[in-house]
Symmetry: C2
Subunit: 185 residues, 2 copies
DNA sequence: GTCTATATAGAGATAGAC
DNA sequence: GTCTATCTCTATATAGAC
């Protein structure tokens, strides 16, 4: 499943074959349909759900370590940029490709992706709410944080540069600071 | 190529077969390799480039019709939300799936996507620059606009709801207004 | 320019031995 | 639980007639 997640991230659902997964993971070919009798879709759904959890924990951990909400979110983005740099410009958006490819064809994968994203958004929203942002605004800002990160990864991957992610990072600082000012004013 | 673009948008590169393209478009099967001797990759590259142009023209037209920059950008997003609603929750990010799937495997498709995105970002950056935003800030904001839209489409598609796009729309208003205030202050 | 037929490879999935 | 062999389907691409 680790291999599955990694391949999905850079090749998407249809671009990732079971043969390749078996080959690169070294997992026994015969076990695949023993543990996932429903086949590829079930395997991918499990991998996606696991990745969603990983993303949420990654964000939650950092958000809990830094008290100031703006600084905490900024630190998450900074860490993502670091991760992107060392992953040969391919990391940071493990769900996006699958979400786009399958949202129209597989309810199961679509909802799995939706749940994963919701968990991640909630992690940010919770932090912002605790920091005093009004509930509705916190939710919208959290959604925007996740959306702009996902989009920034797309741009950074196509350009093979961290520049888009850096630019979005700066913009998110401005946005969250501004929202805080409105709240306080 | 119209059919190709449409299928790419909702199925991605590997999920879209030449058979399906030929079948749904009604285009003569024999012509495909006459006009695109290099095969699928060349056809997709052409479709992507065309879509990039379409996106840029779409944005440029609206941006030129409304003088105020914040209102103009907001109108673009509003129109995208309308388009998303009537496209059975599958429209709005015609390049994203291909960009993610192929950025690691095909230099040709990656750079084609990069150029398309750059053209779109430039359209926004030009508008913001003309409105008086400093050059560097305009570039960063334009990148953030495009990134957050792409990300919002991903979220809206997985959730089958316009809500993420609406939330991002509101956030972009806040962001651009704040940046303007900083510039004026 | 467009047709049909086909080559070749790979996909996902299954069967039955062990 | 895991193996190998194989089924069927579809993929991209090509050949050669018209």
């Amino acid at each position: 499943m680790e291999t599955t997640s990694r391949l999905l991230e850079r090749q998407g659902y249809h671009g990732t074959g079971l043969n390749q997964i078996v080959r690169e993971s070294g997992a026994p070919r015969g076990s695949l349909y023993y543990y996932f009798p429903e086949g590829k879709e079930a395997l991918v759904a499990a991998a996606i759900a696991e990745q969603g959890d990983r993303m949420r924990r990654f964000a939650s951990t950092i958000l809990s370590e830094i008290e100031d909400a703006v600084e905490a979110v900024d630190r998450v983005v900074e860490r993502l940029i670091e991760f992107f740099s060392v992953s040969e410009h391919c990391g940071g958006a493990p769900l996006a490709a699958v979400a786009l490819e399958t949202s129209a064809s597989s309810t199961r994968l679509r909802t799995t992706c939706a749940d994963a994203y919701k968990g991640l958004i909630d992690a940010f929203a919770q932090k912002l709410t605790q920091a005093g942002y009004p509930l509705q605004q916190a939710q919208a800002l959290a959604t925007t944080v996740v959306a702009s990160i996902e989009g920034a990864v797309i741009l950074s991957r196509t350009q093979q540069s961290t520049s888009p992610m850096e630019q979005v990072r700066a913009a998110l600082r401005t946005l969250l600071t501004q929202a805080r000012a409105e709240r306080q004013g």
